[in-house]
Amino acid sequence: MEFDRQAEAFEALGYRLAALSVDVPERLRAARARIGLRMPLLCDVTREAVKGWDLYNRRERGGIAVPATVVIGADGAIRFCVREGMARRLRASELLAWLAQPWPQQPWREQPGAVPGPRGYWPGWRAWWRALRR
């Protein structure tokens, strides 16, 4: 949701946003309308994409996506990728700041201090309530 709120800032830098999960389209339509998301939500019900991207967690709920943020350049090459966790999330503002640097950004492995990474995240009560209702 933080990323979606910053969608215009990403677009101003030339990047669009999309989110992918293994959920079915009906569920995503409902979630998108309920939360008011603007970015497209992609459905990988066959799990082919998450397996192909090596972001498949087979141990939970019959197989779901591993949380991750990936930036793909206009040339089709991966420019940034980071795996996240339930309590470690990448902040949209930090990725925006990194993307706003003059092209080309320094490779993240060579400048670890200058590149965004996931930080501790404490979900709010609404997130806890949603999780408990599942």
Binding site: R16, P25, R29, A74, R79, C81
Partner: protein, 41 residues
């Protein structure tokens, strides 16, 4: 896990409206930020 500099794997999936989408079509002039998430909202 894919590495920076590698070509992104192909992606051809449906969106919430059940339209087929690809990386090329989803990307802006400089690229795409693709968020993988656990789902089951």
């Amino acid at each position: 896990m894919m590495r920076v500099g590698e070509a992104a794997p192909a992606l051809r999936v449906l969106d919430q409206e059940e339209r087929e989408r690809t990386l090329t079509e989803l990307a802006g002039p400089r690229g795409l930020v693709l968020l993988f998430y656990r789902g089951y909202w």
